[in-house]
């Protein structure tokens, strides 16, 4: 996917001025936050489960090579095949190769962020293969030629009237005068259209929420059932997954599943959790004849080396963005690449470079709400700071920021000079601002005063007044 992360500020400016987007984003707050809180409160073991889930992934990442080897052995034992892909290019080529070998014309797709990361649809289309997204949200944004704006609710930036307009434009097989203004009617129409897609697909591509080393299984977690129809009906099932998805055992899987749905949608459990192991077995009446796993690295093996390893615990629940006031203000597209929200702010610079995506980890107040709800206890603010430090080291931050910071730090490290200068400045500002109590404009403070007044200081500094008080007491 083409990145616009470098123009994050412009993207954000446009986003906050979009009233339709604002209305749609209201559903993020109303739809996720209360439900997650309720689901967490209902399970007394929830916090202990978060700890356990974190520990499982920490252990797995420490032994990732060995678990991947074991995983592959077990995939092969079940009759499947693992395709190791170092880059997005490799992964696209691997998928295309399988599709072409079986002469695929149409492929159905379950929701997969890795597929977005490697821009798979564009590649398939360029090679004459039609990808059909089957998750309702993904289907809607495919019609609009848009990327997802949320990792579990890809069309959350849209209101139903926009979706209705898209369906009317695209689904010309239906009578123009049909009723289509209610979510129920939109869902039914999509169901009808996509059912045909399921039945004629030659290959089904899904992502994976987890890979299980013990059994060589891939796991998808969905509510619609589209992922299951995608993988059970065609003769070939391709799983695209990144290598950090592996967990050791079915017990470990169970522990993490307990925090996944609750953190994501606030459900006790998603409707469908499907554990798939290889192609159909002798005697099976349905299921794919071939089972492939396209296993993607794309920089993750490098992330294992340092502080960013913690990002690889992520299970893509979306809780961080659901609770992020910055995401609430600007939505997902402003982030400019595949992964929005706090997780995107730490992951995107690792995947496409901090030169391109440097604004993302900077555009946070460090309010910490993301970390407080992350089921895997990823220290997202700390990792955003990690990127700010890399930027600073490499002199990538804007010159005005660097010089301003240097001047401030020079002063902050010289208390006597600092108190003298601040004392002088505040007396001046205080005297000018005293009558109104605030400034509508101030030199060098345009970023502040464009949207708010600047409250006037009281005049003398605390240090100055304290010195007076001490002197008075001493007399």
């Amino acid at each position: 996917m083409h990145s616009t992360a470098h123009s994050f500020k412009d993207n954000a400016k446009a986003a906050v001025a979009d009233p339709q987007l604002k209305r749609a984003l209201g559903h993020v707050k109303s739809g996720f936050i209360g439900k997650r809180a309720k689901a967490a409160a209902r399970l007394p073991e929830f916090e202990a489960l978060r700890d356990a889930a974190r520990d499982i992934k920490t252990h797995t990442l420490e032994h990732l090579d060995l678990y991947l080897e074991r995983y592959e052995e077990n995939v092969q034992a079940a009759g499947g095949q693992v395709h190791w892909c170092a880059s997005a290019d490799d992964a696209r080529a691997a998928v295309l190769d399988i599709c072409q070998r079986v002469g695929a014309k149409t492929v159905t797709k379950g929701k997969s962020m890795i597929s977005e990361e490697i821009a798979l649809n564009d590649h398939l289309e360029a090679n004459g293969i039609t990808p059909v997204e089957t998750d309702l949200g993904e289907y809607i944004i495919q019609l609009r030629h848009e990327p997802p704006s949320h990792i579990i609710a890809p069309a959350v930036h849209l209101t139903k009237d926009l979706i209705e307009a898209d369906f009317r434009a695209e689904h010309t097989q239906f009578p123009a005068e049909r009723q289509l203004s209610e979510p129920r009617q939109l869902v039914d129409e999509a169901r009808q259209v996509l059912r045909e897609g399921f039945l004629k697909a030659d290959v089904g591509i899904t992502g994976a929420n987890f890979l299980v080393a013990e059994t060589g299984s891939s796991v998808i977690v969905t509510n619609e059932g589209n992922g299951d129809l995608t993988q059970v009906l065609p003769k070939v099932h391709i799983v695209v997954a990144s290598l950090e998805k592996v967990v050791p055992t079915l017990e470990d899987l169970s522990t993490i599943l307990r925090v996944l749905a609750r953190s994501a949608t606030g459900q006790e459990f998603s409707t469908y959790t499907t554990v798939s192991t290889g192609p159909k077995r002798p005697g099976d009446l349905d299921g794919p004849e071939e089972y492939h796993v396209v296993l993607l690295d794309n920089g993750r093996s490098q992330m294992l080396a340092g502080e960013l390893r913690e990002v690889l615990r992520c299970i893509r629940c979306g809780a961080c963005m659901n609770h992020c006031p910055v995401y609430h203000a600007i939505g997902g597209h402003a982030y400019g690449w595949v992964y929005p929200g706090p997780i995107g702010s730490v992951l995107t610079p690792a995947l496409i470079g901090v030169e391109e995506a440097g604004n993302l980890p900077n555009a946070s107040t460090f309010c910490g709400r993301c970390e407080s709800v992350c089921p895997m206890r990823i220290p997202l603010p700390k990792l955003m700071r990690h990127w700010r430090e890399r930027e600073f080291e490499r002199n990538l931050s804007p010159a005005a920021v660097r010089y301003g910071l240097a001047a401030w730090a020079f002063l902050a490290r010289r208390p006597a000079l600092y108190h003298w200068l601040i004392g002088l400045e505040m007396r001046v500002l205080g005297a000018i601002g005293r009558r109104k109590g605030r400034f509508a404009r101030l030199p060098f403070a345009g970023g502040w005063t464009r949207h708010r007044d600047f409250p006037a200081p009281q005049g003398k500094t605390f240090q100055a007044l304290w010195a007076e008080r001490q002197a008075g007491r001493g007399r």
Partner: protein, 263 residues
């Protein structure tokens, strides 16, 4: 005098007040309110002259070396006190939660940073949790609403403490706003680096404040208060904005934040 829970009568303590750069420069009355509350709670208060700022502007801009230098300077200035207290969750959390990590590999400072961090507290939680204060003697006639500033709330667990002390203020009633725990959009340099996003956030917050029906907005961090006051004043809101310490200390004779001097 403030009231203590009966089982706790803490020994007198020598407190180094970390004024914070914003209180020092913008609103010294908050510092004096803090001093009063601390003295009422049996502490002697000193204000080291060698303090400037906790270093967050550098730390949050990725400038680790300057942050470490400022951290060492601050720690040296406060090392001699029984406690370090700041009228700010954000600055207290910086010293308490972040200094030890910043200096973890510094053989001269690692252990000292940890020791001082353990003795560092945000003002209100220090009063309740360390000094056992359960009530203050103050009067404030009116309805207030309280914004939970992010660092205090999530890094230091400050939620019940300010509400407990506010409940003891005569004449005061608390109207909780919706989303009191959601960031106001200040975020230090964030608010000037990303003014459009910050503005959207503080607009949301202003809406919640207005809907609470309260006449006065309180919080424990001056940065957030300046941001919210700036927005409220720009939009002509009649809501008065104050640091919670001013109300708890009963020193609300100064103009509220962003309000004109009385004649």
């Amino acid at each position: 005098m403030p009231q203590n829970s009966p089982q706790e009568t803490p020994a007198p303590a020598r407190v180094g007040l970390f004024v914070t750069c914003l209180v020092d420069s913008m609103r010294p009355s908050v510092g004096f309110a803090a001093v009063k509350l601390l003295e009422d709670a049996g502490c002697t208060v000193e204000v080291p002259r060698a303090q400037t700022c906790c270093g967050q502007p550098a730390y949050n801009s990725g400038d680790r070396a300057d942050t470490q230098a400022i951290a060492r300077q601050t720690l040296a200035a406060f090392e001699e006190y029984d406690y370090v207290v700041a009228p700010s969750g954000s600055c207290a959390a910086m010293i308490r939660e972040h200094y030890p990590a910043l200096l973890a590999t510094d053989p001269d400072w690692s252990a000292r940073a940890t020791l001082i961090a353990e003795r560092t507290h945000e003002l209100i939680s220090f009063l309740t949790d360390v000094r056992g204060v359960t009530a203050v003697e103050a009067r404030f006639d009116g309805t207030v609403t309280y914004h939970d500033s992010c660092s205090g709330l999530r890094e230091l667990g400050i939620k019940a403490q300010p509400r407990q002390l506010l409940a003891s203020v005569q004449g005061l009633s608390l109207n909780e706003m919706q989303d009191a725990e959601v960031c106001c959009g200040f975020g230090g340099t964030f608010c000037v680096k990303y003014p459009d996003i910050s503005n959207t956030m503080v607009e949301e917050k202003s809406g919640c404040i207005a809907n609470s029906g309260a006449r006065t907005l309180l919080a424990g961090d001056l940065g957030c208060l300046l941001n919210m006051a700036g927005k409220l004043k720009r939009t002509g809101s009649p809501v008065e904005v104050r640091h919670i310490a001013e109300v708890l200390a009963g020193t609300t004779d100064t103009p509220a934040i962003g309000d004109p001097a009385q004649n």
